[in-house]
Subunit: 132 residues, 6 copies
């Protein structure tokens, strides 16, 4: 199996609801380093599993829609805790939508899965993996 | 599938028995950077797969029981080579015990697996992955 | 010359005032990875320039007073843009106060300088260096 | 499951054929940071899944045969785009050959798989995973 | 003293002339991770030493003029060994020209120095530091 | 000013004498990631400040004389606490001896300084800087 990963980052504010979050219930923020992996069983005639340049562009479009924002005010997350896990799934699902919409080109048609990892600090990160 | 990873480290002395270890048969030491991943299929109502704060605390308790020690003198490792692989398994098993004992809280009940990676240097690391 | 550096991190929300900041004028956030270096010309009788354990504790106290907060609401920063440069200086000045108050112990009496670096993302960081 | 990973690097020149590669169609180059993981279900009597020293030597032999070269001139890659994916597969296949030829020793007999990751920059990498 | 650093990268092919370079006399390549630091004694009214966004743009313009090229064919380097040291100086000098041309804006007028570090691999890098 | 840095690592056991060291008074160990920087004002005719290949070899010789050892048993450190600061100075002094003995070649004659950084964990490191 092959995979190609591209990295970007985003800087957001948010708060989390629930006693389990302790001081993170206060409005605070994070730089999320975002790694998006695209998986496939085979290479196309160009020798790639996905166009790495397009993958980077699409990931940047996804992070650009989230960065420099207070996620507490974003309608997309109304009633949802924007935990690292939830944001990893959000990024993965938006990338999956982009693949299905053809934004990653022909080579991406045979992709079998996506994994997104969000690093919230040097000592903590979360991932979400899904099929395509 | 979701996973949450927390990182800690420990600084130990040890020696390894067996010709295969060459100069590592001498008493020497290592800083192990320890990454512990907790995996689960679903998020709970708070939007998490595991309480990342508790996960960090439990991992720290496990590394604190090993750090600043000569593992050659630890009864827990009598007759065992404390290779990076063995130590990765030890940490993973102790974390699994903590999960089963309820130390990671209710959210951890549905965890399906643990993976522990020990980095012994910038150019070498080992992992152990197990079900819960 | 010797230096000892310890690393911690903090997760804050803030906004910046001024056209130069573009989208960062909106409320957003950052994980700051904070590196604090303590410099001295000589080692004490224990062979250290500063007690690295105490240095880590004092740095943690400084970051703990800032993390999980919206800096726009902190009286300490009223009327001040909390840029990465300003925050690096704030951390450095608070560490200098701790040194002068004796919180880093006797070994720290001969320290000559402090440098603090705040990494706001994998591709941007800022430092402030001052004498003691 | 256990895995042991060793890291090396290589510095190559190459060009890529196909419109999809944009400016990378020009002759350019890359430092590839190469991570090779060896997987197995069990530890041998020494407590290892593979001799990490030998694994590092074999990986170095593989990267040494590629580094400081223009891959456009290498017969092994005639008619092949030397994409990051293709190079990851090449390294993995050469490591698999070495395992089968006994170059990693007895402990390596029970290895079940290999994964090779090539980092081409801090923001892009590709992997290839295969059975043994 | 303050400094702000931005990071970018470039992927080039080149060869080096001179016995001292051993196998690097052959045409090969490198991913250079490029860190550019801008230094100043004071913050402006916005609380910055330089506009970090503009600094990143200017650095990207400089790396974009070098990346995806065979430096052996670039007129700018005719008769010059494009060692890591030389390339660090080239990047620093081009950034200094940009500062002097006003491309980094008013805040950059009081900058006192630039340092550029080029990482050629995880185990080797070179820097060049100059006044402004 | 130019500098060239090479990285290596060593894995040692040791204990530290003095209440200030707390649990580090017990026999324990560390992986030290060692960065050695060589500084000079000018490039030679080859365009280098020092032969990076030779610098790596000399650094490796220095770390090879320390790695896989219990420093408590090394005559060179009798009566000396092998703190990170002390070890950084030891490595720097041995590198300076090598420069003076001509082991880094002619280009190294004009080097003006050396700085050595030892990383003992991801959150702590120490440096020693000296003239040549």
């Amino acid at each position: 199996m092959f995979s190609v990963t591209v990295r970007d980052h985003m800087m957001i504010a948010h708060s989390l609801r629930g006693d389990v979050f302790g001081p993170a219930q206060r409005l605070h923020g994070a730089t999320y380093v975002v790694d998006a992996s695209f998986r496939g069983e085979q290479l196309d005639d160009d020798g790639i599993v996905v166009d790495i340049g397009r993958a980077a562009e699409v990931l940047h479009r996804v992070t650009a829609a989230l960065t420099y924002r207070n996620l507490d005010d974003e309608p997309a997350f109304a009633g949802t805790n924007t935990t690292t896990e939830v944001l990893a799934r959000t990024v993965a699902d938006r990338l999956a939508d982009a693949v299905h919409a053809g934004e990653l080109g022909d080579a991406a048609r045979d992709l079998t899965g996506i994994e997104v990892t969000l690093h919230e600090s040097p000592v903590a990160w979360a991932s979400y993996e899904r099929a395509l």
